[in-house]
Amino acid sequence: MRKQASVVITVIFFLSLTFAFYQISSSYNYMENKYDYTNPINESSANESVPQHYIKDTKNETGAINVVTAIVVEYRGFDTLGEVTVLFTAATGVGFLLYNLYSRKKNKREANLILREGSKIVLPFALLTGAYIFIHGHLTPGGGFPGGSVIASGFLLMMLSYPKFFMNEKRLSVLESLAGITFVLIGLFGLIFATYFLQNYLNLGNVGYLISAGIIPLIYIAVGFKVGSELASVIQNLKEVQE
């Protein structure tokens, strides 16, 4: 009974999705199509769809070459603040729930020589690559999230090859707090020095250079550190937990 009902629901779901996609794909011309709408606050941007605005004006408004970065950090920076908060909440929850389940028993066997020596060599490169990815977020693909996760995977590799490898939990949490505070403070400075929360109040600089685009690299560096330390602490917590 349960199985039949599930099959029926799944089929209905599949068909409705397919139908919706068919309807969507029969109208593929958003770059040509101009909507005439009025914006409740600001009527100057009428007659231009949102993606068009991003593609046309990102360079002038934010100084970033990578439009996705500009959207993530500037136009919709509030979402990103919420997103790092979700990750932070999850990391906090993981630590909170596993608090009395830890074991520090160390009778695990060592990994083999190649993995151990290899990961020693790879770790600095992983950290460097991660840092490169999040520092160049406004110029090349990537940014704070992949950069942070590359750093976390470097530490994951160390944890795999050295069972005794252990990061100081307190230092990690201080690092993630500082990164989060930096993000919110950059936003609040926007409220103080400019008009809006998270508004860019620094000079945009020469577009295309590393030091440009105002607050975007700063926020991405904070996000990179935050994501890296949070993912690393989540993995460490899961590794240390006793069954």
Binding site: N66, T69, P141, F145, P146, S149, A152, V234, I235, L238
Partner: protein, 82 residues
Amino acid sequence: MIEFTIIAWVMSFLAIASALYAIKTKDLLSAAISMGIASLVVSIMFLLLQAPDVAITEASIGAGLTMAVFIYAIGKTERWEE
């Protein structure tokens, strides 16, 4: 553009097959790994759809770290579904 279409369909079938295997198999470890493979394949589709930022993020977070988290959790609990 025909080669992109072919790659996309191949990736599509790979993703669907690994997702089906992840649902079907009784071995949770291989289910987690094939979920990671589906994620990785989808990140290649992101590249085809001109989304390099998302492809990098999906490959490192969606496929890599999620799978690692799953594997640690399976190591702490049990490997076989009843």
